[in-house]
């Protein structure tokens, strides 16, 4: 009988268990990497039709976020500027730069520049910019330090758990309202004890109570 199963066969079950374990591990890692926003979104930095550098415009030129994203504090949607906005300056400087050709063409014809959409939430998630920036949540919380980016990169997963993290503990993410558009500013909670106190007062006085149930974002 023993010819059927050699002595080495006794190790087989253990081997199978180990292999299975490894396989499950790989599968989990694969699903996590290929299917969760933490990896599918973070690091996304597509090539744009015009190599616009936020770093240059903010740090060298000194533009405020709202110069271009002018409706971010009014509307749910933070607008991408029209080509006309770009041309406000670029009809003075770099008027012939070949890199700006799409913008000039767009401003002339009225056709859109096909910017690639980077920070995109799913259709069923209704994010509202105005409520966040008007109530102490800075751009940097979701978009990262765009002011330092030459190429805009997705830095946060923007998954539901990411949103909830902050909605469950808003005090940790609040900034002084005047610092909202200053991407280099610090969160109140990071400003020592006084800051933490101020954050707590903010939550209390402004009645900050971010929704945690479905209706906050899903309609």
């Amino acid at each position: 009988m023993s010819k059927l199963f050699p002595k080495s066969a006794n190790k087989l079950p253990l081997q199978i268990i180990i292999y299975l374990g490894v396989l499950v591990g790989i599968a989990t890692a694969g699903v996590t990497y290929y299917m969760t926003p933490k990896y599918t979104r973070v690091g996304y930095a597509p090539l744009q039709p015009v190599p616009f550098s936020h770093a240059k415009h903010v740090q060298e030129v000194g533009l405020d976020c709202r110069y271009c994203h002018s409706n971010v504090d009014k509307s749910a949607h933070s607008n991408v500027p029209t080509s006309q906005t770009c041309m406000n300056c670029h009809n003075q400087i770099k008027t012939t730069s070949p890199l700006l050709a799409p913008v000039r063409e767009s401003a002339a014809t009225g056709k859109s520049v096909p910017w690639v959409w980077i920070h995109k939430t799913p259709d069923y998630a209704y994010f509202n910019h105005s409520i966040h920036v008007n109530r102490g949540i800075s751009c940097v919380e979701c978009h990262g330090k765009v002011n330092e980016m030459d190429v805009v990169t997705h830095t946060q997963p923007l998954s539901m758990s990411f949103c909830l993290e902050c909605h469950r503990n808003p005090a940790a993410a609040l900034r002084d309202p005047k610092d909202v558009f200053n991407l280099d500013s610090k969160r109140l909670a990071d400003q020592g004890e006084a800051g933490a106190k101020q954050a707590a007062a903010f939550v209390h006085d402004w009645k900050v109570k971010p929704p945690q149930s479905c209706s906050g974002c899903h309609r």
Binding site: P46, H77, V80, G110, K111, C214, S215, G216
Partner: protein
């Protein structure tokens, strides 16, 4: 707020491909768009203006387009943001804008505000500036936006099949004018629909001056205004009545459906509700007497309803007149009426009117002969009602020829060119004119129509008309107020308007719609043209332009002249000699909304049939015709009113013959009709129409003649032996004695305002909020305290007898709704408003028949006749179909139960509560077990059985093999604030959560910017749900019940507030205010209890053990009406399922 459109004619690309956005871009890119935001959001708008000036160019729009799904990496498809190339003033991507406009319909228009998203209108609301409507609108107005995006609408001008360019159309029209200038118009004829547009009237006048020999005829298949002849005879003046229902305490309607069929019905319904609404026991309540042949919504509201053939209305009017006017002149007209109406009914009704001089009102239906109107005017005049409950306003005498005149002209061969402006005479002209043949005989027919229809199919030149949301124009409301018709979007398919056509034919210098309207308005308003127009467009009304009230004097002699003819002998109807009533359909109107899916799918409020019309017959006639549902041996519940096979109404097709003209249609038994009157709704059976309307219903126009256009006699019905399945959305009509709609008579309410608490299972079960918190105890508190209690209970959720303690709701608001069943008229406007707001798909007749309609709010219609059997095992009474029922209407939507049964059973947490008391529904989490729908006692959850948004209704069952995707045009009507649901998910009402969230956000943003960031509670009334906003009678209150002073808290504090199925302890946030009836005890048909209560009592409180309950609520047993006495001896043992 003037919008100047300077744009080239649409290119071929625009006309062909799915490129509507291009024209939108152009629209938005043009300068000068000043919006109405200021009025809508005062705070925000001011800010916006400031920003505008500070920043040189601020606004750009982004329309998001899913760019080619290029694989920029296989993990993430590339999606583009496409901002406007040029900045557009006023448009903020992500924020809607509101513009004033109006929906013209015949001689009256409904002022509207259109909500647009980046230049795309998505929703219409009533314009609150027009106070008579108070921001409400109608079913048809709500649905009319869908027509704008109708894929079947005319997409090009054509002549002989070839597409005409815009310039060619202009040339063509100009040449018509030039050709006939020489002959002064001889040989040229116009056939137009009715219009209240001052600009059109001005242009027509001009045109007729220029071409005096041209025929100008107007035709509408249905007439919704009283005949001017009556007023002319009685008052000697061209006046029409404007009723002031709010002031009327006693109202008699003679076949007048003033909730729907009469011009100005929106205003009338609203005013009627004011007199009907009872907020406390000291309030007065109006009393409505209705005599009618059909069963209308007005009739359903009646305290005393008399089923009477329309042909007998004159006799009834005369009888009432005889009594009220104390005259013998009218007596001869009443001969033979006794056979149909008891003398006492007439006398007591008349007496009641007399007892309320100056506060009574008699209204006659527009379709009735002038004599009836004359009597009604006379009664109103002599009872001193004029100037009180009815005003008369001067109107322009009609100068247009009738369609019969035109037909005669065509027949004589004198018409060479016929211009048809709107309307669809080939479909709806009186059958005896044989219009289609006549039209073909005219050499040159130019037809301006919105979609290909029966008329345009027979015309050589078809011009595509613009939708009113694409047009410049103006109109008058029923009271004469001039309102603008303002375009929200450039004509998607280059459609043109009537005034443009007329201006071109008349050879006006400018045929630009805006200029034409501006000229009219400036003339009317005076002063600076630009300023006047700006104000006009901003307000949406021209202040002070309403028809002036005129004093009228009753002219007896003139009135008598009307009755000079010998009175016709009163006709007796039978199955061999039927009276046939042609009525305007509730949804299709005269057929113009035939291709509107929202309306087709909306069930008729009385018959509950969608997608079809039917020949309505009374139960008695049905029996004679051999139609009577057999029911079952024991008949434990009331027998169905119609024959149902496996849940679908399986109706028989009959041939209706009247005056030798025959039509075929399915027969539906309709309780409450006059026994031998058959009612035939118009507007169906279109042969040349779009995908939606094709095959819906049968056409009744072929049986309609000039003489018998509203009422015809001598009809007969013969069975064809074939059957048709009808999509009836409510299979069962009886409340089965259940405590669903809780009603009382007004006198009972006055004695016991909290009567609702004595009806219903919870009056017997332990109080759900705890032993001492019984409704009876609650009613001892003051209103204010009750409101406070509601607030407290909303936040804390008292445990009551529950095993579990409920977590507190700690949001800043607690949303709640109150629906007043006493004023709800069941007009269905909320159903379609909700559909428009919440992107609810239509599912088609086949799916409706299966019971898969998606409406989030529905109107339940119950009949009661007091004959429901008390015995659990059924009985004879259950076999009866009520002949003369009382109607109870109830809108039902998700009630956002605090202890929601649906939430508990969802395995994946797709439906949970939020902290503000909303029962939320996360579509993206739903896996579709449908358990929630099973466990919903109201059955208000709707499941996407198919991909209704992605698949065509005729290929649902093809699955993946069928074509996929929504036409681009249809996508445009979708509200961007609401998820479009896919198949396999459950959906339901969430109190318009998108409005709530946006309202809260806008408020918080405004407060933060105003330096009051802690002020997070939205002021009462800021957020309105779609159903609330549209409701003509303000039956729906919605708001924050955390605020005891909010309107909704006050409504809920009223004693007659109750929870539907309250005993289930699900604690719905939507509660109802009990219905009241106000019958006259002296009337012969007086019921001391509403019939639904009689049924409730016979089911639940058999007389044998009455009084054994020992709770106060039941009080002394009111005299049991006949029906109850007959079935009164009910053995307790028989009441299995009863409350004994």
């Amino acid at each position: 707020m003037k919008r100047i459109f300077e744009h080239p004619a649409p290119s071929a690309r625009e006309l062909n491909g799915p490129t509507y956005w291009r024209s939108l871009d152009e629209l938005a890119a043009s300068p000068g768009f000043v919006d109405q935001l200021k009025r809508e959001f005062p705070q925000g708008a001011a800010e916006l203006d400031g920003v505008d000036r500070r920043h040189f160019m601020k606004i750009m729009a982004a329309s998001f387009a899913l760019g080619g799904v290029g694989l920029a990496g296989c993990r993430r498809p590339e999606v583009n943001i496409l901002p406007f190339g040029k900045s557009v003033e006023g448009i903020i991507p992500g924020l809607p804008q509101y513009y004033a406009t109006a929906m013209p319909l015949r001689q009256s228009a409904i002022p509207l505000l259109a909500e647009t998203h980046q230049g795309r209108p998505t929703k219409l609301e009533g314009n609150p500036t027009y106070t008579p409507h108070g921001g409400a609108s109608s079913l048809l107005a709500q649905a009319s936006i869908l027509d704008l995006y109708d894929p079947d609408r005319a997409t090009a001008h054509r002549k002989g099949g070839a597409v005409l360019k815009a310039e060619a159309v202009n040339d063509l029209l100009a040449s018509v004018g030039k050709t006939y200038t020489a002959s002064q118009g001889a040989g040229l004829a116009f056939l137009a629909d009715q219009s209240s547009s001052p600009t059109r009237a001005r242009l027509v006048k001009k045109l007729r001056r220029k071409l005096p020999k041209a025929v100008w005829a107007e035709y509408e298949p249905v007439n919704d205004e009283p005949p001017i002849a009556a007023a002319r005879a009685v008052f000697g003046a061209d006046v029409k009545p404007i009723y002031q229902f709010a002031k009327a305490k006693r109202i008699l309607s003679l076949d007048a459906d003033f909730f729907h069929a009469e011009s100005g019905s929106l205003y009338y319904a609203r005013e009627f509700a004011k007199g009907r609404r009872v907020k406390s026991k000291d309030d007065a309540m109006n009393r409505l007497y209705v005599a009618e042949s059909a069963f209308t919504l007005t009739g359903s509201m009646a305290d005393h309803r008399l089923r009477l053939a329309s042909s007998h209305m004159l006799a009834l009017a005369a009888a009432i007149g005889t009594k009220t006017l104390d005259t013998e002149i009218l007596k001869p007209l009443t001969d033979g009426l006794d056979a149909f109406v008891s003398q006492k009914w007439v006398e007591e009704c008349a007496q009641d009117l007399i007892d309320h001089k100056g506060a009574s009102l008699v209204v006659a239906g527009a379709h009735l002969p002038p004599q009836v109107h004359a009597i009604a005017y006379a009664i109103n005049a002599l009872l001193g009602n004029i100037g009180q409950t009815v005003d008369f306003v001067a109107v322009e005498p009609a100068s247009a020829a009738s369609i019969s005149d035109l037909a005669a002209a065509v027949k004589s061969g004198s018409v060479k060119t016929l211009v048809i402006l709107g309307g669809n005479p080939a479909y709806n002209a009186p059958a005896d004119l044989d219009w289609a043949k006549l039209q073909v005989s005219v050499a040159d027919v130019i037809c301006l129509g919105y979609a290909a229809d029966e008329t345009s199919a027979l015309a050589g030149t078809q011009l595509a008309a613009a939708h009113y949301l694409e047009s410049w124009g103006d109109a008058r409301t029923a009271d004469g107020t001039v309102v603008p018709v303002q375009p929200m979007i450039l004509p998607l398919f280059g459609g043109i308007t009537q005034i443009e056509v007329l201006a071109r034919i008349a050879g006006e210098a400018s045929a630009d719609g805006y200029a034409l309207v501006s000229d009219t308005i400036t003339a009317l308003a005076g002063g600076d043209a630009d300023k006047a127009m700006r104000r006009f467009l901003h307000d949406g009304i021209l202040a002070g332009s309403a028809f002036a009230k005129t004093a009228v004097n009753f002219d007896q002699r003139g009135a008598r002249a009307l009755f000079r003819d010998d009175p016709k002998k009163i006709e007796t109807f039978s199955a061999k000699n039927l009276e046939v009533r042609f009525v305007t359909d509730h949804k299709m109107d005269d057929g113009r909304f035939n291709n509107n899916g929202w309306l087709q799918e909306c069930p008729d409020p009385i018959t509950k049939i969608s997608w079809d019309n039917a020949i309505l017959v009374s139960p008695k006639l049905g029996k004679e015709l051999g139609i009577y549902p057999q029911g079952s041996k024991l008949q434990i519940a009331r027998v169905e009113e119609n024959e149902f096979s496996i849940g679908k109404e399986n109706s028989r097709i009959f041939e209706l013959s009247v005056g030798g003209r025959k039509i075929k249609g399915p027969v539906h038994i309709q309780p409450g009709l006059s026994n031998y009157t058959v009612v035939v709704p118009l507007g169906y059976g279109r042969t040349v129409t779009g995908h939606v309307g094709k095959g819906a219903g049968f056409n009744a126009y072929p049986a309609r003649t000039v003489a018998g256009s509203d009422v015809a006699t001598g009809g007969t019905l013969t069975d064809t032996g074939t059957r048709l399945l009808l999509a009836n959305t409510q299979e069962h009509w009886s409340m089965e004695g259940r405590d669903i709609v809780r009603e009382a008579n007004f006198d009972e309410y006055q004695k016991n305002p909290g009567y609702v608490d004595d009806i219903g299972t919870e009056s017997h079960s332990p109080a759900i909020y705890g032993a001492d918190k019984t409704p009876t105890n609650d009613n001892k508190l003051s209103r204010e305290d009750r409101a406070k209690q509601t607030t407290a209970r909303a936040k804390e959720i008292p445990r009551g007898g529950s095993m579990y303690a409920t977590p507190k709701f700690d949001g800043h608001h607690q949303w709640g709704m109150s629906i007043d069943l006493n004023t709800c008229i069941g007009c269905n406007a909320c159903v379609v408003a909700c559909q428009a707001e919440n992107n609810i798909p239509i599912v088609g007749k086949d799916q409706v028949m299966r019971g898969r309609e998606m409406h989030w709010i529905r109107l339940d219609r119950y009949y009661s006749d007091g004959r429901a059997e008390g015995g659990a095992f059924g009985g004879e009474g259950n076999r009866e179909i009520p002949e003369d029922p009382q109607v109870s209407l109830q809108p039902v939507a998700c009630a956002q139960c605090e202890l929601a049964p649906c939430e508990v059973v969802c395995p994946v947490n797709a439906t949970v509560h939020d902290e503000e008391g909303l029962n939320t529904m996360a579509y993206n989490r739903c896996i579709g077990t449908r358990y929630c729908a099973n466990n919903c006692p109201y059955k208000v959850r709707r499941f996407n059985f198919f991909d209704f948004n992605q698949r065509q209704l005729d290929s649902l069952y093809l699955g993946q093999l069928g074509p996929k995707g929504m036409p681009e045009l249809v996508k445009m009507v979708k509200n961007p604030e609401v998820t479009v649901r896919m198949r396999g998910v459950m959906e339901k009402c969430t109190y318009c959560v998108q409005r709530i969230q946006n309202g809260k956000i806008q408020h918080k943003v405004a407060m933060a910017q105003a330096g009051r960031p802690g002020d997070v509670v939205v002021p009462d009334g800021t957020i309105k749900t779609a159903c609330q906003q549209v409701c003509p009678v303000e039956a729906i209150e919605f708001g924050n019940i955390d605020d005891p002073k909010s309107a909704v808290s006050l409504a809920k504090a009223r004693e007659q507030d109750y929870s539907l199925l309250g005993y289930l302890n699900i604690r719905p946030r939507t509660t109802y205010l009990g219905k009241l009836r106000n019958p006259n005890p002296k009337m012969p048909d007086y019921q001391s209890l509403p019939l639904s209560r009689v049924e409730y009592n016979s089911k639940n409180h058999p007389p044998s053990d009455h009084g054994a309950h020992g709770h106060e609520g039941h009080g002394p047993a009111p005299a049991a009406p006949k029906a109850e006495k007959k079935h009164g001896m009910i053995d307790t043992a028989k009441t299995l399922g009863g409350l004994s």
